[in-house]
Symmetry: C2
Subunit: 202 residues, 2 copies
Protein backbone atom coordinates (compact mmCIF):
# COMPACT_ATOMS: atom_id res chain seq x y z
CA UNK A 1 0.00 0.00 0.00
CA UNK A 2 3.03 2.24 -0.31
CA UNK A 3 1.99 5.32 -2.29
CA UNK A 4 4.09 7.16 -4.84
CA UNK A 5 4.36 10.78 -3.77
CA UNK A 6 7.08 11.72 -1.29
CA UNK A 7 4.53 12.97 1.24
CA UNK A 8 2.66 9.69 1.44
CA UNK A 9 6.03 7.86 1.38
CA UNK A 10 7.13 9.88 4.42
CA UNK A 11 3.84 9.19 6.13
CA UNK A 12 4.22 5.47 5.42
CA UNK A 13 7.73 5.52 6.94
CA UNK A 14 6.47 7.40 10.01
CA UNK A 15 3.64 4.88 10.46
CA UNK A 16 6.16 2.05 10.35
CA UNK A 17 8.46 3.85 12.82
CA UNK A 18 5.59 4.20 15.26
CA UNK A 19 4.40 0.65 14.67
CA UNK A 20 7.92 -0.70 15.26
CA UNK A 21 8.17 1.15 18.56
CA UNK A 22 4.78 -0.17 19.67
CA UNK A 23 5.61 -3.70 18.53
CA UNK A 24 8.85 -3.63 20.53
CA UNK A 25 7.02 -2.34 23.59
CA UNK A 26 3.86 -4.48 23.60
CA UNK A 27 4.65 -7.44 21.35
CA UNK A 28 3.42 -8.33 17.86
CA UNK A 29 0.04 -9.75 18.91
CA UNK A 30 -1.06 -6.48 20.45
CA UNK A 31 0.00 -4.20 17.60
CA UNK A 32 -3.11 -2.62 16.05
CA UNK A 33 -3.70 0.04 13.42
CA UNK A 34 -5.87 1.91 15.93
CA UNK A 35 -3.05 2.09 18.47
CA UNK A 36 -0.67 3.38 15.82
CA UNK A 37 -3.20 6.06 14.82
CA UNK A 38 -3.66 7.07 18.46
CA UNK A 39 0.09 7.27 19.06
CA UNK A 40 0.43 9.48 15.96
CA UNK A 41 -2.60 11.58 16.85
CA UNK A 42 -4.26 10.68 13.57
CA UNK A 43 -7.65 9.22 12.71
CA UNK A 44 -7.39 5.46 12.20
CA UNK A 45 -9.06 5.90 8.81
CA UNK A 46 -6.04 7.95 7.84
CA UNK A 47 -3.66 5.14 8.83
CA UNK A 48 -5.87 2.52 7.14
CA UNK A 49 -5.35 4.42 3.87
CA UNK A 50 -1.69 3.34 4.04
CA UNK A 51 -1.97 -0.04 5.78
CA UNK A 52 -5.16 -2.06 5.26
CA UNK A 53 -4.99 -4.45 8.24
CA UNK A 54 -3.27 -5.55 11.42
CA UNK A 55 -1.54 -8.41 9.54
CA UNK A 56 -0.35 -6.02 6.82
CA UNK A 57 1.01 -3.66 9.50
CA UNK A 58 3.00 -6.44 11.16
CA UNK A 59 4.24 -7.71 7.79
CA UNK A 60 5.39 -4.22 6.76
CA UNK A 61 7.27 -3.63 10.03
CA UNK A 62 9.02 -6.99 9.82
CA UNK A 63 9.78 -6.62 6.11
CA UNK A 64 11.54 -3.30 6.76
CA UNK A 65 13.45 -4.80 9.69
CA UNK A 66 14.65 -7.71 7.52
CA UNK A 67 15.69 -5.27 4.80
CA UNK A 68 18.00 -3.63 7.33
CA UNK A 69 19.65 -7.02 7.93
CA UNK A 70 20.20 -7.70 4.24
CA UNK A 71 21.45 -4.14 3.82
CA UNK A 72 24.19 -4.82 6.40
CA UNK A 73 25.32 -8.08 4.78
CA UNK A 74 25.11 -6.53 1.31
CA UNK A 75 27.97 -4.20 2.23
CA UNK A 76 30.18 -7.31 2.40
CA UNK A 77 28.80 -8.75 -0.84
CA UNK A 78 29.57 -5.48 -2.66
CA UNK A 79 33.11 -5.12 -1.24
CA UNK A 80 36.24 -5.33 -3.37
CA UNK A 81 38.31 -7.81 -1.25
CA UNK A 82 39.09 -11.46 -2.12
CA UNK A 83 35.82 -13.37 -2.51
CA UNK A 84 36.80 -16.36 -0.33
CA UNK A 85 37.46 -14.06 2.62
CA UNK A 86 34.26 -12.13 1.96
CA UNK A 87 32.23 -15.35 1.89
CA UNK A 88 33.52 -16.23 5.37
CA UNK A 89 32.94 -12.68 6.58
CA UNK A 90 29.41 -12.63 5.15
CA UNK A 91 28.42 -15.95 6.79
CA UNK A 92 29.84 -14.89 10.17
CA UNK A 93 28.27 -11.41 9.97
CA UNK A 94 24.83 -12.87 9.35
CA UNK A 95 25.27 -15.21 12.35
CA UNK A 96 26.38 -12.33 14.57
CA UNK A 97 23.40 -10.22 13.52
CA UNK A 98 21.05 -13.11 14.32
CA UNK A 99 22.69 -13.68 17.72
CA UNK A 100 22.28 -10.00 18.54
CA UNK A 101 18.60 -10.11 17.59
CA UNK A 102 18.05 -13.19 19.76
CA UNK A 103 19.51 -11.48 22.82
CA UNK A 104 18.33 -7.90 22.22
CA UNK A 105 15.24 -7.97 20.05
CA UNK A 106 12.93 -10.71 21.30
CA UNK A 107 9.66 -8.92 20.44
CA UNK A 108 10.70 -8.28 16.84
CA UNK A 109 11.71 -11.93 16.50
CA UNK A 110 8.31 -12.98 17.85
CA UNK A 111 6.80 -10.64 15.26
CA UNK A 112 8.92 -12.20 12.54
CA UNK A 113 7.82 -15.72 13.55
CA UNK A 114 4.19 -14.60 13.30
CA UNK A 115 4.72 -12.90 9.93
CA UNK A 116 6.47 -16.00 8.54
CA UNK A 117 3.22 -17.90 9.13
CA UNK A 118 0.83 -15.14 8.01
CA UNK A 119 2.78 -13.69 5.08
CA UNK A 120 5.37 -16.23 3.91
CA UNK A 121 6.36 -13.99 0.98
CA UNK A 122 8.06 -11.57 3.41
CA UNK A 123 10.58 -14.22 4.48
CA UNK A 124 10.87 -15.64 0.97
CA UNK A 125 11.89 -12.22 -0.37
CA UNK A 126 14.41 -11.84 2.44
CA UNK A 127 15.91 -15.28 1.74
CA UNK A 128 16.05 -14.48 -1.97
CA UNK A 129 17.94 -11.23 -1.28
CA UNK A 130 20.47 -13.08 0.89
CA UNK A 131 20.92 -15.77 -1.74
CA UNK A 132 21.58 -13.15 -4.41
CA UNK A 133 24.35 -11.71 -2.24
CA UNK A 134 26.02 -15.13 -1.87
CA UNK A 135 25.72 -15.66 -5.63
CA UNK A 136 27.43 -12.29 -6.18
CA UNK A 137 30.35 -13.32 -3.92
CA UNK A 138 30.67 -16.70 -5.68
CA UNK A 139 30.70 -15.00 -9.10
CA UNK A 140 33.41 -12.67 -7.80
CA UNK A 141 35.31 -15.75 -6.58
CA UNK A 142 35.20 -17.33 -10.02
CA UNK A 143 36.58 -14.08 -11.47
CA UNK A 144 39.29 -13.35 -8.87
CA UNK A 145 40.30 -17.02 -8.74
CA UNK A 146 39.76 -17.46 -4.99
CA UNK A 147 36.71 -19.75 -5.43
CA UNK A 148 37.49 -21.61 -8.66
CA UNK A 149 35.26 -24.56 -7.72
CA UNK A 150 32.12 -22.46 -7.09
CA UNK A 151 30.56 -24.27 -10.08
CA UNK A 152 26.88 -23.54 -10.67
CA UNK A 153 26.73 -20.51 -8.38
CA UNK A 154 22.95 -20.78 -7.80
CA UNK A 155 23.24 -24.37 -6.61
CA UNK A 156 26.34 -23.60 -4.54
CA UNK A 157 24.70 -20.55 -2.93
CA UNK A 158 21.68 -22.61 -1.83
CA UNK A 159 23.94 -25.39 -0.51
CA UNK A 160 26.03 -22.86 1.44
CA UNK A 161 22.93 -21.29 3.02
CA UNK A 162 21.50 -24.73 3.85
CA UNK A 163 24.81 -25.86 5.37
CA UNK A 164 24.89 -22.80 7.67
CA UNK A 165 21.16 -22.85 8.48
CA UNK A 166 21.57 -23.64 12.18
CA UNK A 167 23.70 -20.51 12.68
CA UNK A 168 21.29 -18.18 10.87
CA UNK A 169 17.85 -19.39 11.91
CA UNK A 170 16.70 -17.38 14.97
CA UNK A 171 15.04 -20.33 16.78
CA UNK A 172 18.12 -22.50 16.34
CA UNK A 173 20.47 -19.68 17.35
CA UNK A 174 18.31 -19.10 20.45
CA UNK A 175 18.54 -22.79 21.40
CA UNK A 176 22.10 -23.28 20.16
CA UNK A 177 24.00 -22.46 23.34
CA UNK A 178 26.80 -19.96 23.97
CA UNK A 179 27.27 -17.47 21.08
CA UNK A 180 31.06 -17.84 21.03
CA UNK A 181 30.75 -21.66 20.81
CA UNK A 182 28.26 -21.31 17.95
CA UNK A 183 30.62 -18.96 16.10
CA UNK A 184 33.56 -21.35 16.58
CA UNK A 185 31.46 -24.23 15.19
CA UNK A 186 30.34 -22.02 12.28
CA UNK A 187 33.98 -21.21 11.47
CA UNK A 188 34.67 -24.96 11.12
CA UNK A 189 31.65 -25.40 8.83
CA UNK A 190 32.83 -22.42 6.73
CA UNK A 191 36.33 -23.94 6.48
CA UNK A 192 34.78 -27.18 5.25
CA UNK A 193 32.70 -25.30 2.66
CA UNK A 194 35.60 -23.10 1.53
CA UNK A 195 37.90 -26.09 1.06
CA UNK A 196 35.48 -27.42 -1.54
CA UNK A 197 34.95 -24.10 -3.31
CA UNK A 198 38.64 -23.30 -3.38
CA UNK A 199 39.51 -26.69 -4.78
CA UNK A 200 40.87 -26.48 -8.30
CA UNK A 201 38.76 -28.23 -10.91
CA UNK A 202 40.43 -31.46 -12.07
Amino acid sequence: MKANSTDTGDMYARILDTAETLLRRFGPEKLTVTDVARAMDMSHGNVYRHIPSKAALRAAVIARWLEKVSHLTDAIAQNAGPADQRLREWLVELAVIKQRKVTEDAEMLAGAALVVRESPDVEQEHSARLRIQVIKILQDGLKDGTLPHAGDVGVSASAILNATFRYHHPDLVAKGGAPEKQLAALQDVVSLILAGLQRLPE
Copy 2:
Protein backbone atom coordinates in the same frame (compact mmCIF):
# COMPACT_ATOMS: atom_id res chain seq x y z
CA MET B 1 18.32 -49.54 36.44
CA LYS B 2 19.05 -52.43 34.06
CA ALA B 3 20.01 -55.46 36.14
CA ASN B 4 22.66 -58.01 35.32
CA SER B 5 21.06 -61.43 35.20
CA THR B 6 19.45 -62.52 31.94
CA ASP B 7 16.07 -62.93 33.61
CA THR B 8 15.88 -59.35 34.81
CA GLY B 9 17.37 -58.24 31.46
CA ASP B 10 14.53 -60.00 29.67
CA MET B 11 12.02 -58.47 32.03
CA TYR B 12 13.51 -55.01 31.40
CA ALA B 13 13.23 -55.53 27.63
CA ARG B 14 9.62 -56.69 27.99
CA ILE B 15 8.78 -53.65 30.10
CA LEU B 16 10.26 -51.40 27.40
CA ASP B 17 8.36 -53.26 24.67
CA THR B 18 5.10 -52.70 26.53
CA ALA B 19 5.97 -49.09 27.35
CA GLU B 20 6.81 -48.38 23.70
CA THR B 21 3.48 -49.78 22.55
CA LEU B 22 1.62 -47.68 25.13
CA LEU B 23 3.62 -44.57 24.28
CA ARG B 24 2.79 -45.01 20.58
CA ARG B 25 -0.89 -45.46 21.39
CA PHE B 26 -1.48 -42.78 24.03
CA GLY B 27 1.44 -40.37 23.68
CA PRO B 28 4.45 -39.74 25.91
CA GLU B 29 2.68 -37.55 28.48
CA LYS B 30 0.25 -40.31 29.38
CA LEU B 31 2.79 -43.12 29.73
CA THR B 32 2.92 -44.27 33.37
CA VAL B 33 4.64 -47.10 35.21
CA THR B 34 1.25 -48.13 36.60
CA ASP B 35 -0.23 -48.52 33.11
CA VAL B 36 2.74 -50.60 32.00
CA ALA B 37 2.32 -52.85 35.06
CA ARG B 38 -1.41 -53.21 34.36
CA ALA B 39 -0.79 -54.07 30.67
CA MET B 40 1.77 -56.72 31.76
CA ASP B 41 -0.47 -58.03 34.53
CA MET B 42 2.23 -57.29 37.11
CA SER B 43 2.23 -55.34 40.36
CA HIS B 44 3.52 -51.81 39.80
CA GLY B 45 6.05 -52.39 42.60
CA ASN B 46 7.52 -55.08 40.41
CA VAL B 47 7.91 -52.68 37.46
CA TYR B 48 9.29 -49.93 39.74
CA ARG B 49 12.11 -52.32 40.67
CA HIS B 50 13.31 -51.98 37.07
CA ILE B 51 12.29 -48.41 36.27
CA PRO B 52 12.15 -45.89 39.13
CA SER B 53 9.90 -43.20 37.60
CA LYS B 54 7.73 -42.03 34.74
CA ALA B 55 10.58 -39.86 33.41
CA ALA B 56 13.04 -42.78 33.57
CA LEU B 57 10.53 -44.95 31.70
CA ARG B 58 10.16 -42.40 28.88
CA ALA B 59 13.92 -41.90 28.74
CA ALA B 60 14.58 -45.65 28.52
CA VAL B 61 12.02 -46.13 25.72
CA ILE B 62 13.44 -43.24 23.70
CA ALA B 63 17.07 -44.27 24.36
CA ARG B 64 16.37 -47.73 22.95
CA TRP B 65 14.57 -46.25 19.95
CA LEU B 66 17.53 -43.95 19.22
CA GLU B 67 19.91 -46.89 19.53
CA LYS B 68 17.99 -48.59 16.72
CA VAL B 69 18.61 -45.52 14.52
CA SER B 70 22.36 -45.47 15.21
CA HIS B 71 22.46 -49.24 14.69
CA LEU B 72 21.07 -48.76 11.15
CA THR B 73 23.56 -46.03 10.22
CA ASP B 74 26.42 -47.97 11.84
CA ALA B 75 26.03 -50.67 9.20
CA ILE B 76 27.17 -48.06 6.64
CA ALA B 77 30.01 -46.83 8.86
CA GLN B 78 31.32 -50.40 9.22
CA ASN B 79 31.07 -51.24 5.50
CA ALA B 80 34.07 -51.94 3.31
CA GLY B 81 33.27 -49.67 0.31
CA PRO B 82 35.02 -46.37 -0.61
CA ALA B 83 34.72 -43.94 2.30
CA ASP B 84 33.58 -40.94 0.24
CA GLN B 85 30.61 -42.90 -1.11
CA ARG B 86 29.84 -44.23 2.36
CA LEU B 87 29.85 -40.71 3.82
CA ARG B 88 27.21 -39.64 1.29
CA GLU B 89 25.22 -42.81 1.89
CA TRP B 90 25.39 -42.35 5.68
CA LEU B 91 24.20 -38.72 5.57
CA VAL B 92 21.33 -39.56 3.21
CA GLU B 93 20.34 -42.68 5.21
CA LEU B 94 20.10 -40.66 8.43
CA ALA B 95 17.92 -38.06 6.66
CA VAL B 96 15.65 -40.77 5.23
CA ILE B 97 15.27 -42.40 8.67
CA LYS B 98 14.31 -39.01 10.17
CA GLN B 99 11.81 -38.34 7.38
CA ARG B 100 10.21 -41.70 7.98
CA LYS B 101 9.93 -41.00 11.70
CA VAL B 102 8.33 -37.62 11.03
CA THR B 103 5.62 -39.13 8.85
CA GLU B 104 5.11 -42.46 10.63
CA ASP B 105 6.14 -42.10 14.25
CA ALA B 106 4.77 -38.82 15.58
CA GLU B 107 4.18 -40.03 19.15
CA MET B 108 7.73 -41.36 19.52
CA LEU B 109 9.08 -38.05 18.21
CA ALA B 110 6.95 -36.19 20.75
CA GLY B 111 8.40 -38.51 23.37
CA ALA B 112 11.91 -37.79 22.15
CA ALA B 113 11.29 -34.02 22.34
CA LEU B 114 10.15 -34.44 25.95
CA VAL B 115 13.11 -36.65 26.87
CA VAL B 116 15.56 -34.17 25.30
CA ARG B 117 14.35 -31.62 27.85
CA GLU B 118 14.09 -33.99 30.84
CA SER B 119 17.14 -36.19 30.25
CA PRO B 120 19.56 -34.38 27.90
CA ASP B 121 22.16 -37.16 28.32
CA VAL B 122 19.98 -39.50 26.21
CA GLU B 123 20.31 -37.27 23.16
CA GLN B 124 23.93 -36.43 23.91
CA GLU B 125 24.83 -40.13 23.90
CA HIS B 126 22.95 -40.59 20.63
CA SER B 127 24.77 -37.63 19.02
CA ALA B 128 28.09 -38.95 20.30
CA ARG B 129 27.42 -42.37 18.74
CA LEU B 130 26.58 -40.78 15.39
CA ARG B 131 29.69 -38.60 15.51
CA ILE B 132 31.89 -41.66 16.20
CA GLN B 133 30.46 -43.27 13.06
CA VAL B 134 31.32 -40.23 10.92
CA ILE B 135 34.81 -40.17 12.44
CA LYS B 136 35.20 -43.85 11.51
CA ILE B 137 34.26 -43.11 7.88
CA LEU B 138 36.65 -40.13 7.73
CA GLN B 139 39.50 -42.26 9.12
CA ASP B 140 38.72 -44.87 6.48
CA GLY B 141 38.80 -42.08 3.87
CA LEU B 142 42.27 -41.00 4.95
CA LYS B 143 43.41 -44.62 4.62
CA ASP B 144 41.73 -45.50 1.31
CA GLY B 145 42.63 -42.11 -0.18
CA THR B 146 39.06 -41.07 -1.05
CA LEU B 147 38.94 -38.30 1.62
CA PRO B 148 42.55 -37.07 1.79
CA HIS B 149 41.53 -33.65 3.12
CA ALA B 150 39.55 -35.01 6.10
CA GLY B 151 42.18 -33.37 8.36
CA ASP B 152 41.38 -33.43 12.07
CA VAL B 153 38.63 -36.03 11.82
CA GLY B 154 36.93 -34.96 15.07
CA VAL B 155 36.61 -31.36 13.90
CA SER B 156 35.54 -32.43 10.41
CA ALA B 157 32.92 -34.85 11.79
CA SER B 158 31.34 -32.12 13.91
CA ALA B 159 31.38 -29.67 10.98
CA ILE B 160 29.75 -32.27 8.71
CA LEU B 161 26.98 -32.98 11.25
CA ASN B 162 26.42 -29.25 11.81
CA ALA B 163 26.29 -28.59 8.06
CA THR B 164 23.60 -31.26 7.61
CA PHE B 165 21.66 -30.38 10.78
CA ARG B 166 18.54 -29.19 9.00
CA TYR B 167 18.11 -32.58 7.27
CA HIS B 168 18.57 -34.62 10.44
CA HIS B 169 16.76 -32.61 13.12
CA PRO B 170 13.16 -33.94 13.39
CA ASP B 171 11.51 -30.51 13.89
CA LEU B 172 13.33 -29.05 10.89
CA VAL B 173 12.60 -32.10 8.75
CA ALA B 174 8.93 -31.84 9.76
CA LYS B 175 8.82 -28.17 8.69
CA GLY B 176 11.22 -28.55 5.76
CA GLY B 177 8.72 -29.28 3.00
CA ALA B 178 8.53 -32.18 0.53
CA PRO B 179 10.89 -35.06 1.46
CA GLU B 180 12.24 -35.46 -2.09
CA LYS B 181 13.06 -31.73 -2.26
CA GLN B 182 14.86 -31.96 1.08
CA LEU B 183 16.86 -34.96 -0.13
CA ALA B 184 17.83 -33.15 -3.34
CA ALA B 185 19.01 -30.12 -1.31
CA LEU B 186 20.92 -32.44 1.05
CA GLN B 187 22.67 -34.05 -1.93
CA ASP B 188 23.94 -30.60 -2.97
CA VAL B 189 25.19 -29.90 0.57
CA VAL B 190 26.93 -33.29 0.61
CA SER B 191 28.59 -32.55 -2.74
CA LEU B 192 29.86 -29.26 -1.33
CA ILE B 193 31.23 -31.03 1.77
CA LEU B 194 32.77 -33.89 -0.23
CA ALA B 195 34.54 -31.50 -2.61
CA GLY B 196 36.44 -30.10 0.37
CA LEU B 197 37.26 -33.45 1.94
CA GLN B 198 38.35 -34.96 -1.35
CA ARG B 199 40.58 -32.01 -2.15
CA LEU B 200 44.23 -32.96 -2.21
CA PRO B 201 46.34 -31.22 0.45
CA GLU B 202 48.54 -28.56 -1.10
